[in-house]
């Protein structure tokens, strides 16, 4: 088993870090305290300035 990286926190930053590492070919362990990923961002209804919806 090759050694990977640990990402603590599954919010938008944690997910981004994990994806970047994984896309570069590394194994990533993503540990999230809550039951699912998304963090605070998933609670946000719309995002300025583009008024995108999260989801």
């Amino acid at each position: 088993m090759p050694k990977g990286a640990l990402v603590i926190g599954g919010g938008v930053a944690g997910v981004q870090s994990a994806l970047d590492l994984a896309n570069a070919g590394f194994k990533v362990y993503l540990v999230e305290r809550g039951p699912c990923l998304g963090g605070r961002t998933s609670q946000i209804h719309k995002i300025f300035t583009s008024m995108d919806c999260t989801g």
Binding site: G9, V12, S17, G34, S42
Partner: protein, 1403 residues
């Protein structure tokens, strides 16, 4: 690819890092996977379970604004999309019950009207619901948490209700166990032991000495309290499990222990306490003195039992009350109780005492008999003594002490002694050598109830002395467990101790808006009628009463373990006894992204949060304004609006506030408020929206324009801090505030939003301890050096990013996260390249279509609504369909395997799966096809779940028709599909970075460390960019030049190639293979690179003639001031005025805030002020937001730096040099004139002069502000629309140094990911041109955002479009633009979509 499916990412949700040891790159990590009680390998996320869950607790995701079930997922799109159960421990009711009866569970089920289910749940722990519903001492009620609100729930009476509503069900049939077990005594202990053994499959025999089972329940409890029929129901139920009861068979008379041992594997003795205790006073042998049980026994079976005229019952237990009430019914003229303590200590149930009193019974408290008086051998009276209460005794009750000389006598003719019973088993001890206690009870192991003789167990009153029914039941239950273990040869003791798992009081959720509500009173028989009959007095709850009462339950434990979810879960995923799991991981590096929490605005009590209605936090507004939120996007004001909505935002609640010790700006709130104000304006166009603020900090890209948009929409801004918010009692919220000029005012609103400060995430300090890294003064994770090392923690190999280091918006968090990734990668051992796939023989698909259709039930999710078999039969009749069948879960491994077999068996060359959305399983089905050599693009999913069965639940017929139509459309489409093949491009692993400033070099170093070769191309002769001109950098105060020299050296040392004085000539090619042509020292060179990074920076605004620049020599830009500071040219200066926002936030080509200047000016001001120079910073709002900046701002003010607002161009006067500046002050309604020696213009950042040229060269578009445009303002901040071309730093938008550096590392991360592979695979869904139809008009090329289409000269001289598949993203907009139909999109070809349409309308 999304994070949930990435093969390289293992997600540990609901988990915590509990231990980290070692140093980079050898960290040993321990992770605790908290139990979810749902096996996530099995859970399909179908969503059936919460529909049956009876518990409703606050939904943290919706910020407790709404409720959810105890089994839940946070939101429908959650990743992982799995359910979990919230369990907080044992609810107090269950914990305090000796038998552990799940009261919360059956109460929850009653609230749902599931009475039979409730009864079944009850009976898992207690076979006597009818009995216990009436006579239990209910310790559960004593501990019921509802007591803290008003009164405990009527738990026993609810239990009785479900028993009264029993529906006879067929007898259960557990797997039979042939081992024989004997139970002696058919009282509650013996019967419970037999019952719980029967539930385990045994067929126990119960030997009872009397002629009726039930023990004291039958023999000594009066029928008006426990009707025979009720008892019989429980007895019948126990017998229905196969328990055999042999009456009139007495131990010691009809059989011996030895006899039992010969025939049975194990024995349970439930012998009770048959001997009644005497007081040992004079006169107890007189006629008319009787024992309580003996008396009740007679009276229960004979209403003609003789009774005295004046009857005293001695004792305070339930039996005493039973006896006295029975005496009354038998005809006693006067019946009363004599009890030696006070009412408070009385062990009888409160409701029984009340009923007795109602019936006219007197209770003489603190009275104890001393002598029974008699005449002629008959009772005539009783001498008693008055008692007082002393210190508590062993039972915890206060000890009664006789008051000397208080003796008195009472006349009576009957005395009933109800002072307790004792076990009578001395004969056994003698004959069988049982060990006894000094109280004459069985000595048993307290955990296993085994007596001194192995295989013989005992419980109930014969062990404990007289106790309650529920304790006897508990003993029977424990004994059954022991006996089962004994027979199976399992250790009797292991894991037996009762777990200390009572839910913690602080975890019990008492809703803030709970209303006090008395417990439902039990309907009682009219007292006059009751007194004269044996009819049951308590009448039982009606259905309505039971439901009402059950709804008072607080669901203390979260999940009530009612097991309803288990019943509906088709994949059998629910595991109620799951435990936490620990996983050890070896990792090379760690990234910490633990985010933020927000300050509870209750801390800022002056704003009335939670005290008044309609005061929200900004996060609550997010949820409330969301369509999938708790109020479906409307504000739940709870009142009719008479006029347009009045809504206020209060900024900086807690932030920038010494009182809350929050010495920083929360950075996101201003923009969030502006956004929310616009969302509100959409919902309530006429609303009056007022924002109370200190400074509007709109410093990011597009922020200023966004702020201006809100002004245009009529959002009002009041500079000033509200002092308080009060409610006028009519639902109007009145904000008291003081404005800029010091005027106080009041404004009235319907609702108020508080922009609460962001604070470090809970548990962040503990995590720092686990990781051995430091936290800063504000409680966030500390950087090893802020600004220059914004991603490094204080420990090597541990990176910190996003809000973990301080509040940040999404854009900055995302950039930091990528940056941290590239740094983390430096500690990892090599990377895994995708594994070469083995050759699989491809199925020839050139022949006519042979379609296989596979229809999924998705458990009940589809089949409950859609007639799946009908769809299969229908599919078989569709053209080219040669095979169709259905699966319970088509996505399961077995089913996919079967599909693969069907492909071979029926020579299928097209596959349709009718199931859920393609978003979930399309890829896994395609993989299945690929694995057997069928091209994965010859596949389609008919979405008959998400878009059919789930949304048409009430129309099964129509839904089935629609499912057939969807399958028909899919079949039509799949018949027209063609195989597609992935294309691969080779990748050059070199990188070209344009610009040798701080971002370019940082990015270069990061890439070099990852093993890529890097060329930095700089047009100027020296590297360093803007930063090298800075006198110092806050907060380290290192010289810009030093930093840049060090960075340049590091870059060169790491093997980077620095090309200064180099001109870019041309760029061609595409991702993986760009050709960059440059000219250096008159020599032209061409480099091939895989990726290009634009780090070209920005220029500074040239103030030209404005603000008197150029007119007076002592008016300088801030960069010129930096030079002055560097050269020490400030000696003769005594007074300096800064003008902020020169060339920013205006119409002069630069609409945005330049972000860096406030912080830079403050840094410079401090430097000057510390040298005794007077400094005034004339500003348009002070926008300091980055880490440490607020403290710096505070320091500047403390040092006496003046901050004054100004608008427009001020008057700068003087002769030959600037001598004074005059600004109109809004503060005092008068002009202010400041004498100056130096005027500093803080000039904004503008796009570099060559940005238009670079934009053309690299085909990277620019935004309206003329800075380069990123791929997505939030989620793609460093990518461009051109694949393989990235950007970072100020060429995108003004940034400060820390943010620029994070972006530089982020780019390195993206480039590294792109170039880590030897080849880039291109998705085959691209546009394609039929050249003969193409007229070369170029419209397709015009609409293509990705510049994937170019016009090439044809052989005949004309032009034709050509698609560069490396650039094409497969959107297909070019197809819509083509006037001749010469261009089409693979896999979504016009004929394929038209076939779908034709199929749809065929029916």
């Amino acid at each position: 690819m999304d994070v949930g499916r990435h093969p390289n990412i293992e997600i540990f949700a609901n988990s915590e890092v509990v231990g980290v040891e070692g140093e980079a790159p050898d960290f040993k990590v321990k992770v605790r996977r908290k139990s979810t009680f749902v096996d996530w390998n099995k859970c399909t996320g179908c969503g059936e379970c919460p529909t049956v869950c009876p518990v409703h607790i606050k939904d943290e995701f919706q910020l407790a604004l709404s409720k959810r079930a105890a089994i839940y997922r946070q939101y429908p799109q959650a990743v992982p999309n799995k359910f979990l159960i919230e369990k907080k421990g044992s609810p107090p009711c269950r914990y305090s019950c000796p038998a552990g009866v799940n009261a919360q569970g059956y109460i929850a089920l009653i609230s749902q009207g599931k009475y039979q289910e409730a009864l079944e749940l009850e009976r898992r722990d207690n076979p006597f619901p009818a009995v216990c519903g009436r006579v239990c001492t209910h310790p559960c009620e004593s501990d019921c948490k509802r007591r803290d609100v008003d009164e405990p729930l009527a738990i026993a009476q609810l239990k009785r209700f479900i028993s009264d509503h029993e529906q006879k069900t067929p007898p259960p049939s557990p797997e039979l166990n042939k081992e024989k077990v004997a139970v002696v005594g058919a009282g509650p202990a013996g019967l419970s032991a037999a019952y719980f053994l029967a539930r385990r499959g045994y067929r126990p025999t119960v030997f009872e000495a009397t002629d009726h089972p039930g023990g004291l329940l039958y023999w000594a409890i009066p029928r008006f309290r426990l009707p025979e029929a009720a008892l019989q129901r429980d007895l019948d139920y126990i017998e229905s499990w196969g328990v055999e009861i042999k009456t009139n068979t007495a131990l010691g008379k009809d059989f011996s222990i030895k006899d039992l041992q010969q025939e049975h594997k194990a024995v349970f003795l439930g012998l009770g306490a048959a001997k009644e205790k005497q007081m040992g006073i004079e006169g107890e042998d007189l006629q008319g003195v009787t024992m309580c049980v003996e008396f009740l026994n007679k009276a229960v079976h004979n209403p003609q039992t003789p009774v005295g005229k004046k009857v005293a019952v001695v004792g305070g237990g339930n039996s005493a009350i039973d006896a006295v009430r029975t005496a009354l019914r038998l005809g006693a003229e006067q019946a009363f109780i004599v009890y030696r303590r006070s009412r408070q200590e009385m062990p009888a149930n409160e409701e029984e005492i009340v009923e007795a009193e109602k019936e006219g019974i007197t209770i003489h408290y603190l009275t104890n008999p001393t002598k029974i008086l008699g005449k002629d051998g008959k009772v005539t009276g009783m001498e008693c003594i008055k008692m007082k209460l002393g210190e508590p005794d062993a039972s915890g009750r206060r000890r009664p002490i006789p008051i000397e000389g208080s003796e008195f006598t009472m006349d009576l003719d009957m005395v009933i002694m109800a002072i307790g019973q004792a076990a009578d088993i001395s004969f056994l001890a003698k004959e069988e050598n049982f060990e006894l206690t000094r109280w004459g009870t069985f000595a048993v192991d307290p955990d296993t109830l085994q007596t001194s003789i192995p295989g013989i167990f005992a419980g109930g009153d014969a062990v404990t002395g007289p106790a309650t029914v529920i304790e006897a039941i508990a003993a029977g239950k424990e004994a059954a467990e022991s006996i089962d273990r004994f027979i199976r040869g399992v250790d009797l003791k292991e894991n037996r101790k009762k777990k200390d798992d009572r839910v913690k009081d602080e975890d019990i959720e008492i809703p803030e808006d709970i209303r006090a509500e008395k417990r439902t009173a039990m309907p009682m028989l009219d007292v006059d009628k009751a007194k004269n009959s044996y009819e049951e007095v308590a009448q039982g709850f009606s259905e309505e009463q039971a439901k009402k009462e059950s709804n008072r339950c607080l669901s203390c434990a979260g999940c009530s373990e009612c097991m309803e979810c288990v019943k509906v879960c088709e994949p059998n995923a629910i595991v109620h006894d799951m435990t936490d799991e620990f996983v050890d991981l070896d990792v090379g590096s760690i990234i910490v992204t633990t985010g933020v929490d927000y300050l509870d605005p209750k801390e800022a009590s002056e704003y009335g949060y939670k005290r008044f209605k309609n005061i929200y936090t900004s996060f609550e507004i997010e949820r409330l304004m969301s369509e999938d939120g708790p109020s479906s996007g409307e504000l739940p004001l709870g009142k009719e609006l008479q006029e347009p909505l009045r809504f206020a935002f209060i900024q900086c609640v807690g932030s920038r506030n010494m009182r809350h010790d929050i010495n920083y700006c929360s950075r996101i709130c201003c923009m969030n408020t502006i956004k929310d104000s616009l969302v509100l304006k959409e919902h309530y166009p006429d609303a009056r929206i007022v924002v109370f603020y200190i400074d509007i900090r709109a410093f990011g890209k597009g922020f200023e324009e966004f702020y201006n948009r809100s002004l245009e929409k009529g959002v009002e801004y009041v500079k000033g801090k509200p002092s308080k918010v009060i409610d006028d009692g009519q639902g109007n919220l009145i904000i008291h505030y003081e404005d800029e000029k010091g005027h106080s005012g009041k404004m009235t609103f319907d609702a108020v939003c508080l922009s609460s400060a962001l604070i470090p995430s809970k548990g962040c300090g503990e995590l720092a301890g686990v990781l051995d890294i430091e936290i800063d003064d504000d409680g966030f994770f500390k950087n090893s050096e802020p600004a220059i090392m914004p991603l490094e923690s204080t420990k090597k190999g541990i990176l910190v990013c996003g809000c973990a280091t301080g509040p940040k918006d999404i854009t900055d968090s995302i950039a930091e996260a990528s940056g941290a990734a590239v740094k983390a990668a430096c500690f990892l051992e090599g990377h895994e390249l995708p594994i070469e796939e083995k050759e699989i023989e491809q199925i020839d698909v050139s022949g006519p279509p042979r379609v296989g259709v596979f229809v999924c039930h998705c458990g009940p999710n589809i089949s409950k609504v859609v007639d799946v078999k009908g769809v299969v039969e229908y599919a078989k009749m569709l053209p080219d369909v040669v095979f169709a069948e259905d699966y319970t879960f088509a996505c399961s491994e077995t089913a996919q395997h079967q599909i693969q077999e069907r492909i071979a068996e029926h020579r299928l060359n097209r596959v349709v799966v009718a199931a859920c959305t393609p978003k979930t399983h399309e890829m896994s089905f395609q993989d299945s096809l690929t694995a057997v050599g069928l091209n994965p693009y010859l596949f389609d999913i008919a979405n008959i779940r998400n878009q059919c069965s789930w949304v048409h639940q009430k129309e099964p017929v129509k839904a089935t028709d629609k499912a057939k139509e969807l399958v028909r459309m899919s079949v039509a489409r799949v018949r027209k599909l063609a195989p597609l093949f992935m294309k691969e491009l080779s990748v050059n692993r070199d990188v070209a970075i344009i610009g040798a400033g701080i971002t370019g070099l940082r990015c270069g170093i990061d890439l070099l460390q990852r093993g890529f070769s890097v060329k930095v191309i700089e047009k100027l002769p020296v590297p360093g960019g803007l930063v090298s001109h800075l006198s110092s950098i806050y907060p380290s105060f290192r010289k810009g030049k030093d930093i840049m020299e060090k960075l340049t050296a590091e870059f060169t040392k790491a093997g980077g190639e620095l090309l200064t004085s180099t001109e870019l000539l041309d760029v061609t090619g595409y991702v993986g293979n760009f050709q960059v042509k440059v000219k250096r020292e008159a020599k032209e060179n061409e480099y091939t690179v895989g990726a290009i990074v634009l780090a070209t920076g920005s220029a500074l605004y040239d103030p030209k003639k404005c603000f008197g620049y150029g007119k007076f020599p002592n008016i300088v830009t801030n960069m010129e001031l930096e030079q002055k500071i560097l050269s020490g040219d400030i000696d003769n200066i005594r007074s300096v005025a800064f003008f902020q926002c020169v060339g920013s936030r205006g119409d002069d080509g630069n609409p945005g805030c330049s972000r860096y200047c406030c912080q830079a000016a403050i840094k410079e001001a401090i430097y000057l002020r510390e040298r005794g120079i007077d400094v005034a910073i004339l500003n348009r709002g002070v926008r300091v937001y980055s880490k440490g900046a607020e403290r710096m701002y505070r320091k500047a003010r403390e040092l006496g730096v003046l901050f004054l607002p100004y608008e427009g161009e001020p008057a700068i006067t003087g002769k030959g040099r600037a001598e004074a500046v005059t600004i109109p002050s809004s503060d005092i309604d008068a002009d202010i004139t400041i004498p100056v020696d130096l005027v500093v213009l803080s000039v904004g950042m503008v796009p570099a002069a060559d940005s238009a040229h670079l934009s053309e060269l690299f085909k990277v578009p620019r935004g309206p502000d003329k800075f380069f445009l990123e791929r997505h303002s939030k989620f793609g901040p460093v990518e461009t629309t051109v694949e393989g071309v990235f950007l970072c730093g100020c060429c995108q938008f003004p940034q400060d140094i820390g943010d620029s550096i994070s972006q530089a590392s982020a780019v390195a991360s993206k480039v590294a990911a792109l170039l880590s592979r030897d080849k880039i695979t291109l998705a085959p869904i691209t546009s394609t041109v039929i050249e003969e139809y193409c007229r070369g008009c170029g419209r397709c090329a015009e609409v293509c955002e990705f510049r994937a289409i170019e016009l090439v000269e044809k052989e005949d001289g004309g032009f034709a479009a050509r698609v560069n598949e490396a650039l094409c993203k497969g959107c297909g907009t070019c197809v819509a633009a083509c006037p001749t139909g010469a261009i089409d999109l693979k896999h979504f070809r016009s004929e394929q979509i038209e076939a779908q349409l034709e199929a749809l309308f065929e029916g």
